[in-house]
Symmetry: C2
Subunit: 387 residues, 2 copies
């Protein structure tokens, strides 16, 4: 990015705030308090890796009417000053005596009616990014105003991506597409997996990622087990299936998909698993429509696997995607979230090849009125081979 | 890392838990509940980038006596199974009906006496990494047991690093040392800052970082302003000072230091600022001893700057370092934390060169009985030049 080109227009941010405020009205909320990197970025465009430091809390207060207020450590004043926000209040953090508590409580008291309800996300897949003891202090300071759950208010807005957001995610997906095509350059029999993970990240940066927030993968004979461990120095061997998965970031927007490779020719069991997973994703691409639920989407994939005699495996079969690596909903039998036009989703079916050995496919899509549009280049039907 | 070489011995982890339990006894805590990546890693060695997904909570329950219990999503069972923990309880997360609440509450009820106090970190620089609504549910389920603040209990243990931990941090610092020596390979007049940031990350991976959790920096004529923004595409120019700062990670341990470079010859004001910062760090290296406080350390640096007529600038003048990019304490006038042998710290004095233009130096040290030992190679007294 360059100084001449902000990530989004001011109208984009104003539209987001207006949709929050519409949702707040429906939920009878008099304000919304946001504390996480993703929620702050969504409202303001404030993008920094400085969140990696847990030292300081950051607050955005969205009133029922009017523009948001930023209540932030002074070290962020310059960067927030470049955003569309004009009411930016700062303190020197970290302050062991009062780490923003008074400044935040004052802003709430000033903005929210005496008997008002202030929403914070406190449900599934959320957390409050501030010290709990300070939150209790704020609660007391703002009485009789009270905090209530605003998870749905935030999620129903953030989960529908604008065309500008979809373009950002597509750009990041294309970076990963180019890197997955280059995997044979650095992955082959005899190369240690930890070096492959490093080269994979290097390639993502070379192809335009600003940073690489997530890399996972696995390699094993006829499939892999655990896919959340860091890579070991174990070299690839003939008969291994290698999986690489990335959440690379460009302009604050993530991709999240994987690709599988066979080191030498795959076994018949691996070929069957590959065919089953390819078919499961195909059925979603053909039949998914807005109005279905997350559980419906999960069922499409599970049924497609069952149809060819494959055993569903792994965890959930995908999730939302955008300004965090994973967003709600989750494609499981238990999640009944309606899927709507404009949602960006990952399709992530898994198959158990043999006891404790899995294959997992992943694609990124945006759900359009007439069905899914791929954001990642469709994985090949046949497993690509490595030497 | 390789499968044959776990990060630390079981004795290392047992020692950490014993020290937590000693602290819990002093603080009259009957248990400790840990939810953040760093705290979970500290007790178990569970290291994964999967924390990047906010979808699932993870819990470690440290009882007053005996070994910790892991209450975690089933997707982590394999990896946690490789740790020294034997009591690992899992559920299929995310579960919209009960996302680990029952499993966690049951473990607490089983482990903590009826009238017991369960510690969680809720003070400065902490947060609770689980949905707030679920925390409230757990609170009700475990009554009359109650949650109390355990910030000090966790911090007084984690802030003293073992020799094995110090060796890990030193390894990561050496990776960054090698990369800072290579900066002239990819940074010179005309090169855009965002490409320099990418090349910097690539070099860190090439030199052995497992991943690069943090990169910051700045470039500007006679100093830089804001140092937390992402890089723009603006090319370096003669007269710029370039600063690059990184929190690279190897085996879960961070470095956190920066280096400054002058593009062409520096101005007299930049040379004076450089001299002042070098002198401020030197006085700490010469005079810091265990028993001083964070505020004392801050005063050493501020006084050294004043002695040469420089204006202190930037935020805090350093902090703790280890398994997060920044740990407590903070080197400010307000932080009275005693500095003790075995603490790993960053020294980060800043100077205002001219209105809104700063220079910031950073070094990583471990505090020994007889004073600081450098973990980063000392920055040169004279600013290195770029073409």
């Amino acid at each position: 990015m360059s100084e001449a080109a902000p990530l989004f227009s001011v109208e984009e941010y104003r539209g987001r705030v207006r949709r929050f405020q519409d949702g707040m009205k429906t939920a009878q909320l008099d304000g919304l308090l946001l504390t996480t990197p993703a929620d702050v970025f969504y409202v303001t465009g404030f993008l920094t890796r400085f969140w990696e430091s847990p030292a300081r809390p950051w607050f955005i207060l969205v009133p029922a009417h009017g523009d948001p207020i930023a209540i932030i450590p002074s070290i962020g004043a310059d960067l927030m000053g470049k955003s569309w926000l004009t009411d930016i209040r700062t303190w020197d953090a970290p302050d062991p005596a009062d780490d923003g508590v008074s400044l935040l409580a004052d802003a709430i008291v000033e903005t929210i009616p005496n008997t008002g309800a202030l929403g914070i996300p406190m449900g599934l897949e959320t957390h409050l990014r501030m010290p709990l003891a300070d939150f209790e202090r704020v609660k007391i300071r703002i009485k009789p105003r009270r905090f209530v759950d605003a998870t749905a208010t935030v999620q129903r807005v953030r989960e529908i991506k604008s065309e500008a957001e979809i373009a950002k995610i597509k750009t990041t997906c294309k970076i990963a597409d180019r890197v997955f095509a280059r995997v044979p350059e650095f992955a082959s029999s005899g190369r240690p997996l930890d070096q492959i993970f490093r080269d994979f990240q290097i390639a993502l940066l070379q192809e335009g990622a600003d940073w690489v927030s997530y890399v996972a993968g696995g390699a094993g004979q006829g499939g892999y087990g655990d896919v959340i461990s860091p890579a070991t120095a174990k070299p690839l061997e003939k008969g291994d299936v290698l999986m690489l998965d990335t959440g690379a970031v460009r302009d604050g927007y993530f991709c999240d998909f994987d690709r599988n490779y066979s080191v030498g020719p795959p076994s018949a069991a691996v070929e069957r698993a590959q065919d089953a997973l390819f078919a499961a994703t195909e059925s979603v691409l053909e039949t998914l429509r807005p109005g279905m639920t997350s559980a419906d989407l999960y069922a499409i994939m599970v049924n497609a696997l069952h149809d060819v005699g494959a055993t569903a495996g792994g965890g959930r079969f995908g999730h939302g995607l955008g300004i965090t690596l994973t967003e709600w909903p989750s494609f499981t039998a238990k999640d009944t979230t309606p899927l709507r036009e404009g949602m960006v989703l990952t399709l992530e079916p898994g198959v158990e090849v043999s006891a404790g050995k899995f294959l997992v496919h992943e694609e990124n899509i945006v759900l359009r009125a007439n069905g899914p549009e791929l954001l990642s280049a469709r994985a090949p039907q046949e497993l690509p081979k490595l030497e």
